[in-house]
Symmetry: C2
Subunit: 138 residues, 2 copies
DNA sequence: TCGCAATTACAATTGAGTTGCAATTAAATT
DNA sequence: AATTTAATTGCAACTCAATTGTAATTGCGA
């Protein structure tokens, strides 16, 4: 029936209306959404703030979502690609308007020569670029 | 007289006891401090929380401090190197221990093909990598 | 020394995120 | 299909970082 119901059930979580609604809202958009943006989008369905928070965290723990912090002190969530769960990609944040874009992985390359510098860089799991987006550059 | 007084005055801001105390506290330590850590350090001088916040932000705007969020939803502040104010470099943050390393600029390359994807990437001013550092990787 | 805009101190407020708990409900069991 | 029970929801209260309003104070230029 519902594609999301199966997705949720597969993780062991119960399939509930709030969870399906959250997945639906996140799947409709190509950028990570904050909790408050989601609450706005789900206003019509009149969902409880705390329930959405708990669901976002639970589904993140279950591997359905990924959670990023782009430096504005709010968590943003996006649906994980189910075919390729470990495919994470760089994000670009506009420091003016706060917009978050997703970049192709290929566009950012990190080379780690174990250089003279005394850094302790290990496994990189998240790449975040900040600056002014094209709209805010003028 | 006071080395910090001159530093503050040079920016056009007034030199006040809270500002000097904040600069002194930040200069004594080699890592970025959060607001609450600063309040603790300045407890003896019994400074107002809001005053410290405003001073941290004002001095950041004035170019004396830099403000970073390494993903724990609190701002951290550090004194800017006055000789080389514009030297920015990629940072690596360990999501386990919270340690921050500075990387050589050459180690991260961003190529921006104006691709099919509808991102609005413009001028990049800050690069942040997250993951587990070598110490936390085991 | 004087005048005044910048700054401070205090209190109230915002906003993200969390927690406790009674009522509800998904779904496994019978 | 009805029963059962643990997972989940809904609501309210709460924590904590950070911001804001404002009257009183103060740095510093004139």
């Amino acid at each position: 029936m519902n594609e999301f119901k199966a997705l949720i059930r597969k993780t062991g979580l119960r399939s509930t209306p709030p969870r399906i609604a959250v997945l639906q809202a996140l799947s409709k958009i190509s950028m990570p959404l904050s909790h408050s943006e989601l609450v706005d989008k789900l206003a019509a369905q009149d969902m409880d703030r705390a329930t959405i928070f708990r669901n976002l965290n639970d589904m993140t723990d279950a591997g359905l979502l990924s959670r990023i912090d782009v430096g504005d002190h709010t968590w943003r969530f996006e649906i994980k690609n189910q075919e390729n769960k470990n495919a994470s990609h760089p994000h670009f944040v506009c420091t003016d308007c706060g917009d978050v874009s997703c970049l192709p992985t290929a566009n950012v390359q990190v080379s780690h020569y174990p250089s003279a510098s005394n850094n302790k860089v290990g496994n990189i799991s998240e790449i975040l670029l900040k600056g002014h987006c094209e709209d805010c550059e003028n």
